[in-house]
């Protein structure tokens, strides 16, 4: 960390004690992090985050670039395992089970905690095979008819069935950006996850495709827990039920989206969402 950033952090967080708002839920949480630190080598990216993600809630994580929101999201299904220098401390629980426990099977974890990325990343295969891939490798289905049904259900849930049902054997890469992203969501849903993580899922899409994904998020929230990282504050306001604000690796404030966007308690949250940052 260079000195100027470190100085800024120290002055910003002089007197910083704890997250404002309701980071911890009273009811049952689907996922919880407790005193979670994340390091890249000797640089600390996340500082002692305690946060619950409730069942059937859409949690939006917002904050300026480099605030750690994506890093935090990626720790929730161990995507950071592939980065050698990345170290995680503290606990991250899925249904009360520590996902960093050495007995945890990472492959099945990622089926339970699915992820949708910034840029749609369909496999260079047919539309059908993209969705069927997960159920096949996880051995979720034994017969072709069953697989057909899983694929159709996932595509329907992702609101893309009507657009692709007549060309399931065609390459997924031929779809438009918005369709590809919904296909990726279908691919995630196909393995019946409990949690869906979304890392700026609309940043490469036009406003109409974005609106469709947002509509889809609202529908999916009935059955899944969703955590979404977004740079668009309006999107966070539209799709989420709870919003978490990150700043320089700290979780500053968590609250109902209604409250965060009308009367946040922390000055840093206020400054960020009103465009007074930087």
């Amino acid at each position: 960390m260079n000195t100027s950033v470190k100085d800024t952090m120290e002055s910003t967080f002089a007197g910083w004690t704890e997250t404002v708002g309701n980071a911890m839920l009273e009811g049952e949480a689907r996922m919880s992090t407790r005193n979670t630190d994340v390091f890249y080598g000797d640089k600390q990216a996340i500082f002692g985050v305690d946060l619950d993600i409730g069942k059937n809630e859409v949690l939006a994580m917002i904050g300026p670039s480099g605030c750690g929101k994506s890093t935090f999201l990626r720790t929730l299904n161990r995507m950071n395992d592939t980065i050698d220098i990345c170290k995680i401390k503290g606990e991250i629980l899925l249904d009360g089970e520590n996902i960093y426990d050495k007995n945890m099977d990472v492959v099945s974890l990622r089926a339970r905690v699915g992820m949708v990325f910034q840029k749609p990343n369909p496999f260079p295969k047919s539309i059908y095979d993209n969705v069927a891939y997960g159920p096949r490798i996880h051995g979720l289905v034994s017969r072709r008819a069953e697989l057909d049904e899983v694929v159709e259900t996932a595509l329907r849930k992702a609101s893309i069935w009507d657009e692709v049902k007549d060309r399931l054997d065609q390459p997924a890469t031929g779809l438009s950006g918005g369709q590809q992203q919904r296909l990726c969501i279908a691919r995630t849903i196909a393995v019946s996850p409990e949690v869906i993580l979304m890392d700026e899922p609309c940043s490469a899409l036009d406003p109409i495709a974005t609106a469709r994904i947002e509509e889809l998020i609202a529908e999916l929230s009935e059955n899944y827990t969703i955590a979404i990282v977004t740079h668009s504050m309006q999107q966070a306001a539209r799709v989420s039920t709870r919003t978490a604000y990150f700043h320089l690796g700290r979780l500053i404030e968590v609250g109902s989206t209604d409250k965060i966007f009308t009367a946040p308690d922390h000055k840093l949250t206020e400054d960020y969402i009103t465009g007074r940052f930087g």
Binding site: M233, F261, A263, K267, E270, I273, T274, G275, F277, G278
Partner: protein, 237 residues
């Protein structure tokens, strides 16, 4: 939370737009204060020129209303304001509405002074009118000051004053009714005074609304339709 400011946005243009709306709201407030003063003086002094002036001033108040509404609509459409900026725009919109209504009431008072002048005598003896008028004028001034200084406590004080005005209004009406019963020849004049009193009382209500908007703006708390003790308690939190 630290003192609110509206001038630290990354977008200087946004700062300028918010400042424009704020400045025009304060101008409109000043205009309405002056209008109340002129209308009230026309009533007490039975001055038809002043009454005409107060009625004419309403046109400018209406113009300001249209202008500020246009500004806030543009900000909503273009800037997607959030948090304190959103509360600011909501408060400005509501306050503009209240100020315009205050202007209407001031014009009504001026019309009653024209009626009284026509009937040949002023509202002599009606001490209450003078007293309530002064209180209401202070309330409007206080509510606008609290907006300018973003001072929730000053706004709460205005809400307290409104309660006092409402009580005095009730007393004044009873006194007038007694006078009318004692001497039916005074009925026509007493009715004009009653209408003027009613307008003053309504102005007080609008000043209270403005004070409530200020509390929402500063504290993010909606204190409408709440007992004053509850409001005070919420502000202490």
């Amino acid at each position: 939370m630290e003192k609110m400011t509206f001038d630290k946005h990354t977008s200087a243009q946004f700062n300028a737009e918010l400042e424009g709306a704020r400045k025009h709201l304060m101008e409109m407030g000043g205009l309405v204060e002056e209008q109340i003063e002129v209308a009230f003086k026309s009533l007490i002094d039975v001055d038809t020129d002043l009454a005409e002036k107060a009625i004419k001033m309403d046109k400018n108040v209406n113009k300001m209303e249209l202008m500020i509404d246009k500004e806030t609509t543009q900000i909503l459409a273009k800037r997607n304001p959030a948090a304190s900026d959103l509360r600011f725009i909501i408060s400005v919109t509501k306050t503009v509405n209240d100020l315009e209504r205050i202007g209407d009431e001031a014009a009504k008072i001026a019309k009653q002074s024209l009626e009284l002048a026509e009937s040949g005598s002023g509202p002599q003896g009606f001490v209450e009118l003078r007293h309530i008028g002064e209180k209401v004028r202070q309330m409007v001034q206080g509510s606008l000051d609290s907006f300018a200084r973003l001072d929730a406590d000053a706004a709460l004080a205005v809400m307290h004053q409104d309660k006092a005005v409402d009580l005095e209004y009730g007393d004044a009406i009873r006194t007038l009714v007694t006078k009318m019963m004692e001497d039916p020849r005074t009925i026509s004049r007493a009715l004009s005074v009653m209408w003027a009193l009613r307008s003053l009382e309504r102005i007080g209500d609008h000043a209270r609304n403005i004070a409530e908007s200020v509390i929402y703006l500063v504290k993010g708390k909606d204190v409408r339709h709440k007992k004053l003790e509850k409001v005070a308690e919420q502000l202490r939190k």
